[in-house]
Symmetry: C2
Subunit: 431 residues, 2 copies
């Protein structure tokens, strides 16, 4: 054990780095500490405070110290089930709900427990594939395109499944919408058709709907409505409730998935045990919702869609390809139209793109390769979260929800977002 020759590591883990979203965040902090102005658009963290009644509930339950049930506090499982019944029009019962310390942890345990291939439409969130690698599962990618709004088509999915000789091979398809990294969602028609393809092949869908409540029109629709017998809905407090650092995620299972949920619970009892008790009590308040939470969501959505619109405008002017998102706080930037110019500056892949952009323009965004886009494509993800969420929320509350936010909203509550966009535009087109 005196040197690296002697180390003995699981080869599935050896060489795996920290999740790139977290790594870029730490690098940005470092540059910032050295005096450089950084537009930190790497980490996808909600800039908004946790709604006040939820924080108050945490305080009220700060003394709770008992180990809670592995599957979760009964009142919370009830609240989450109610949330999905109300918001998603799906028949979820409390005993179909599993609570974990972040949906990421639950996804890991799902992949550990379920013995099947992982099917990933790309671009996709950064952690699905590394989890599969650590566990040793096969990963099959289905690439989407800018032209198709980064969405997988039912036809594409069907062709992929038919092309594999093994029709009922156990498979887990992860869908994520509104999406990280591109903010896009699926049409009802496509959801129905994807559901029917999945049903035909008896394929499990993990529907990662953590950004569901951040759909700008509040019109998120779960595929579980059309494929209730095969869809696990993943959600949590991290995005719509602004509580990423609290670490609370939820899975809602089809009622016939006890075999899977119980296996996950067994692993949970040998790993995280239960989610932090005070946090679970506070989460009950969040999932119960009510008028204070709903108003919070209206303001949050209005602010995010305002910044999305303004940002897309600036980026389009600069000649960058970007789809207007349907929800969440990400933009997926495709620099392909400017490829010749950028390549002449030595920018030959998405990693170099992001490094140079950070060093030269102070804008931290994540390379497309982290989202399983081929590295030579000049594509990157941007999280427009570098503004004071509390200030923006309070100001938005002074403006009736029936009105649009005024043109100068960003001047007071989000100049760093639009300045960041301008930095990208200038840097991209500099001579």
């Amino acid at each position: 054990m005196k040197n690296n020759k002697h180390i003995s590591l699981n080869l599935n883990v050896r060489g795996i780095e920290q999740s790139p979203t977290l790594a870029i965040n730490e690098l940005s902090k470092k540059l910032n500490a050295n005096g450089k102005t950084i537009y930190a658009m790497g980490l996808g963290q909600s800039p908004f405070p946790v709604p006040a009644p939820v924080v108050e509930t945490l305080k009220h339950h700060a003394h709770e110290k008992d180990y809670l049930n592995v599957k979760g506090l009964e009142a919370l499982r009830q609240a989450v089930a109610h949330f999905h019944r109300q918001k998603d029009n799906v028949d979820i019962k409390a005993n179909n709900v599993l609570i974990g310390p972040g949906s990421k942890e639950l996804m890991f345990i799902l992949q550990l427990v379920y013995y099947g291939d992982l099917i990933l439409p790309t671009p996709c969130w950064v952690s699905y594939a590394p989890q599969a690698k650590i566990i040793g599962r096969n990963i099959k990618l289905i690439h989407t395109s800018f032209e198709n709004k980064w969405r997988i088509t039912p036809k594409q999915l069907n062709e992929f499944l038919v092309s594999e000789s093994d029709q009922y091979r156990p498979r887990l398809l992860i869908l994520n919408y509104p999406s990280n990294p591109d903010g896009g969602t699926y049409s009802v028609d496509d959801l129905k058709k994807i559901a029917s393809v999945a049903r035909k092949h008896e394929m499990i869908i993990l529907s990662d709907e953590i950004y569901g409540q951040l759909h700008y029109q509040g019109n998120h629709i779960s595929i579980a409505r059309f494929y209730p017998e095969g869809t696990i809905i993943s959600s949590g407090l991290s995005k719509w409730c602004g509580a990423g650092g609290w670490r609370l995620g939820t899975f809602a299972f089809p009622s016939n998935f006890d075999w899977l949920m119980n296996a996950m619970t067994a692993v949970a009892s040998e790993t995280f045990t239960s989610v932090s008790a005070p946090i679970q009590y506070a989460a009950v308040r969040a999932f119960k919702g009510g008028i204070l939470i709903e108003r919070y969501l209206w303001h949050v959505r209005r602010i995010l869609s305002f910044f999305a619109n303004k940002s897309v405008e600036i980026l389009h002017k600069a000649g960058i390809h970007v789809q207007m998102p349907d929800g969440g706080f990400y933009l997926f930037l495709d620099f392909t139209p400017l490829e010749t110019k950028l390549k002449s500056r030595g920018i030959t892949n998405s990693k170099v793109l992001c490094e140079k952009l950070l060093q030269e323009a102070g804008v931290a965004i994540l390379p497309g390769e982290a989202f399983l886009i081929p590295t030579e494509k000049l594509i990157a993800r941007l999280a427009f979260v570098n503004f004071d969420g509390a200030k923006a929320l309070a100001r938005s509350e002074t403006i009736p929800l029936s009105e649009a936010l005024p043109e100068d909203f960003a001047d007071h509550c989000g100049f760093s977002v639009l300045k960041g966009m301008q930095q990208i535009a200038n840097w991209t087109n500099k001579k």
Copy 2:
């Protein structure tokens, strides 16, 4: 997916049940709900409240919602390092500390990451072996005995290692003291000798010292003092701070173990991400310690050792073999002297023993087989935690620490503990 024929589960997971400590707790609750008086001595949960300044700190930081550094909040890593330097006289720095949602989760990730055999002295805590099974590691058991106070001897360990043809085979030895399930600890002399055996074989020791601060004389000694280059110290808030349900555990690594800590961090970044932010801020207060925390510990130790003494007295009178613990809140009951009598009542293994004891006498304890004792041995673990910790603590505070607790202390603050012992005694010896 319509029936169990179609399910596809990882075979390492299939058939694994919930951790037995948690399972018996849930069963006890159920019987209790049905009106039966239950002496709930199954789950090993501290009965004491979280110290008031720590709860206050959680309230103060309830709004903290950022994702924290994967390895842990810097201030907490500093506090944990300081804690180990002060209490254990070992040279731990903040950057050798890793924070997780419970030490159990960290142990799982350690076993996932480290590619070696797991060496377990038995009896041992319930989760070490199932974790290894889930991951697919080899488990090698070294059995100890009542006569040897359930401790592994340096000689035994050496003989085991020498008996394996593969001298430098990567191995992880887990030591746990004061121990769950028996409350025993190691002498300084044995710790030194075990350290020297481990050094000779370059074997990593995971020293699970979660009950360290509950050593009744406050004299816990870490093996890391004698084997600093190969010992990982595991600790957390769950036992000495009464905050099991908060879920915060800590690992302190040797400075030359970056390779292992970084691999664990990479997996952490793809699983739990970081520990709940408000909980980490509160934990800083706990690990910083100070006079309020130290006084709390003095009272807690005095109360626990009082109950341990009284309980052992009752059990000895009933003819049950039990060692007086050195710390913590467990007794490991060996019914072997009464074997003939019990077998004539159809009690042929530890599982039946515990089932009948629960059904007939209302006492919930855990079978020895959960701690890897051969099931035919009539041995079981008892957690004497079924008393009102807040009430006991407050009453203890009225009695100078220089004095012993009065004989009638249990009459007011822990009659259910001693009543439970009496139930066991009566049930064991009934005609």
